[in-house]
Structure formats: C-alpha cells, structure tokens
Symmetry: D2
Subunit: 140 residues, 4 copies
C-alpha cells in the first residue's frame, strides 16, 4: 500500500450494535476521521481551519463490508488518491484487521468547496497549486 | 416509484454538521431506519424480533450525494428491491427533497444471517418462502 | 403531568448497545429532539430559524436512568419548565415506558444565546416578551 | 487531581454541531470512552471481556457544561472515584481545555451488573476483591 495515508482506530463500545459488531454508519464516521486526519497531517490543513471558509463534502461513496469488526478490534485504515480532478479527488480506502484481512474497502469522492459569505451556499473550488502538490504524493 | 416502500424523515439538529448540512454518516443512519421500518411494516418482522436470532447486515453500499439537506428539511425515502437472491437482497434507495429533487440515491445489499447459539458467529440463511413472497412485492 | 410538552419516540436499532439497551448518550439525543420539537411546536420557532442567529445550549444536566429501554420500546417524553429566568430556563423531563414506569427523569437547564456576527462567540440574551408568554404555559 | 485516571481526546468534526461547538450528547460519548479506557487500563478489564457476561450501566449523571469546546480543541479528561459501594461506584469527572479552564464537570454513578444466561435481564453484582483493590487507588 505504497503512498497510502495510514491511521489506526480501535472499535469502541459506541461503535457496536446489538449483535456486537460495528454498526455500518459508524464505519463511515471512522472514514470521515481518516479524511480529517489526512487533511491535518498530510495537507497541514486542520478541519478547524478548512471549515472557516469551506469544506470537502462527500459526493460519492462505494463500500464493501467484507468482515465484521468487533469491540476492541484495532483497525488499520488506508486512504489514497486514485484520480485527482480540478476540485475533486477520487480516493480509495481500506480498513484492515490485525491479521491483515480486509474489514471493508471502497471508493469515496470528495469535492473541495468554498462557502458563500453567509455560509448558506457552496461552490466547487479548484485545489490551489501547493495543495495539489501535497495531494499528488498520495496518488496510487 | 411504483412498488417502493416509502417513509419520511425530517432533518434534525443531531444530523447536521458545522456547515449546517447533513453529515453523511447520518444519512446512512436514516437509511438503516428505512430498512428497519421496511422490516417492521412490510415484512411484519420488527428488528426486536429479528435480532433475537439473527440480523440483516449490510455487505455492499453505493451512494451518490446529489444535493445537500439542511436542518428542518423533510426528506422522502424510497426503498425497493432490484434483485432477490437466496439469502440476500440488492436494493435501490433514493431520498428526495420536498420539491422532488434527489438528495441522495444508491444501492445497498443486505444479507440475511442467523446467529450461532452464543451470538458470536453468523452464517447466511435463505429467506423462508413466506418472507420471500412479501419481499417480491417490492421488486422493481 | 399537566402543562408538560409531550412527544413519543421509539427505540431504534441505532440507539441500542451491545447489551440490547439504549446507550445513554442516545437518550440525550432523544432529549435534544424533545427540546427541538418544543421549540418548533410550542414556541413556533423551528431550530432552522433559531440557529440563524443564536442557539439554546445546555448548561446543566441531571439524569437518573431508572429502567433500561430496549429495541422497539415506545417511550413517552415529557418536558416542562420548573423555573424561568431572564435568559435561561430550568426544565424537568421524564421518559416513560408504555406501562407508565419511569425510564429516565431529570433536569436540564438551557440558556438562550445570540451569536456574534461571525458566529464565533455567543452571549446570553433575554427571552423576548412574546416568547416568555409562550414559555409560561409550560411552567409547573 | 491526584489519583485521577486521565486521558486526552480531541474534538472531531463528528462531535460538533451547526454552531461549531460540541453537541452535548457527544460529550457523554467521550465520557463513556473515558470509562471504557479506565476499565481497560486501570482495571485490566477491556469492555470486550466485560460485556461477555455483564456490563456497567450508568444510573445517575450530573454534568455542568462550563465552556464550549470547538473543532480541534484537545480536551483532558479526568475520572476519579468519590464513593465505592458494594456494586456501584460514584465517580467525579472533569474535562479541561488546554489552558486549564473547565470545559465540563460532573458526577456519574455506575453499577456493576451480570447478565442472565439469555442476556435479557441484568442484576447488580458486587465488585470482587481484586477489582475493588484496583478501584480504591482512584478514590479521592
């Protein structure tokens, strides 16, 4: 998984359902955490700064849930860029179990947007050159 | 949208993010609510009964987020079956805004499973005939 | 429970934990829903309007969790005002099971605030007279 | 804060509301995380083991929300024991901002329970001696 951005997250009590496995919307919270960490650490743009003037909404998501995760499991999360558009990035992601088996994997497309001054409308906004240079390091 | 199972859900404070729009994992909670209502109302199998002995985990999800939803928006949620397998169903779903525009749409594949006696493992389990008959009414 | 504002909410799959009972932070989401409905229906001030210029943050919470709630339980939620200050209201709340037994009960204090123009700071703001008149109907 | 169990948690996008501050039920998720870490690290009893046969439900909660927390804030969470009963512990907790100011503080009472064999009912169960010895180190 050369070039991928990698973080770990442990399955907590708040993530699991009645069956004792991760409730799948919680996996998407974990994916959002991964993008949040990618912005802070790889792009040096923490969400607290990003969200002053814009955002990075998810416009397309594909996920295959391969193997259930249980309370206490430590997952390794991978994020990489498959295609970098003007204002959007099409990313691949994968969550692995400790034995290397795939927990879930998929694709997510994010679009860079700017807010209008009253924060009520948004429009797509191209990645500036310095951000594009940082993003290209994660192209796979 | 003939044959679809239809429910409404209003965007609440707990669903929206810093930008004032629905945080996308909350849309998946709304989708899970839709499946939960489908089981209770269309199949006469409330989740409290279903989860005594098994479940219906999501194994595949595709979603396109078309138009942001904001606090107070009333969404109409549609669920229908595209393909009915032995123990799985491939469903289509769509959430519409009040003006009929699409908020999000996609596909979700659910698998019927039984728990082992200690609830620690699961195996796929074919839909019984009476349930299959009810599911077929939602085939599109 | 004369004078109380009353709403029902059913325990859903997303609310319950590994033990099959409501995870207590989800009860607080249900309490927030109750306040949200109170604002929309009793004060004619939906949160989408309220949050244009201010909010009603919770500053103090006391809750006794008396009897677990399980998947599918229909809870009846009560909210009333114990003391109405200049910019704050001290409310009582109670969630009941269908047999009338108490699920949880407690007190919550909410403060009316206005945002600064850049939405980055807040200050307490007295209830206007027309809102105060509506609130007084729920004094107990 | 001698004797307290201490962990840090950073405010993430999923925690904040439309006003950009932590939605208070998310603070209770953070408190639950703190108890979960306390069990794993101080008592050497990870929740995945605890929840095989029992749990530690919250029966009483008091919280004062003193100062809003915003996206990216790093909070330091403290938990200590004020009174240790036979099967219950009355704990104090405090979340601090980086400048040492109090974000929230309060009290939470937890009860040790065992599940019945079918996991459908619970009964209070006294702390065994070895667990009690570990808990007493956090008495304040």
């Amino acid at each position: 998984m050369k070039n991928a951005f990698i973080k770990k997250e442990t399955v907590r009590f708040q993530h699991v359902d009645y069956a004792g496995i991760v409730f799948y919307p919680r996996f998407l919270e974990m994916l959002n955490n991964l993008v949040e960490d990618f912005y802070a650490e790889a792009l040096n743009l923490p969400f607290k700064n990003l969200h002053e003037t814009g955002g990075i909404p998810t416009v397309d998501l594909k996920a295959q849930f391969k193997k259930a995760a249980r309370l206490g499991d430590e997952l390794t999360k991978y994020l990489w860029i498959k295609n970098l558009g003007g204002a959007s990035m099409h990313c691949g992601f994968k969550f692995e179990h400790e034995d290397g088996s795939v927990c879930l994997e998929g694709d997510v497309t994010l679009v860079r947007v700017d807010f209008s001054d009253d924060r009520k409308s948004i429009k797509a906004s191209a990645f500036p050159d310095d951000m594009r240079a940082k993003l290209e390091k994660y192209l796979l």
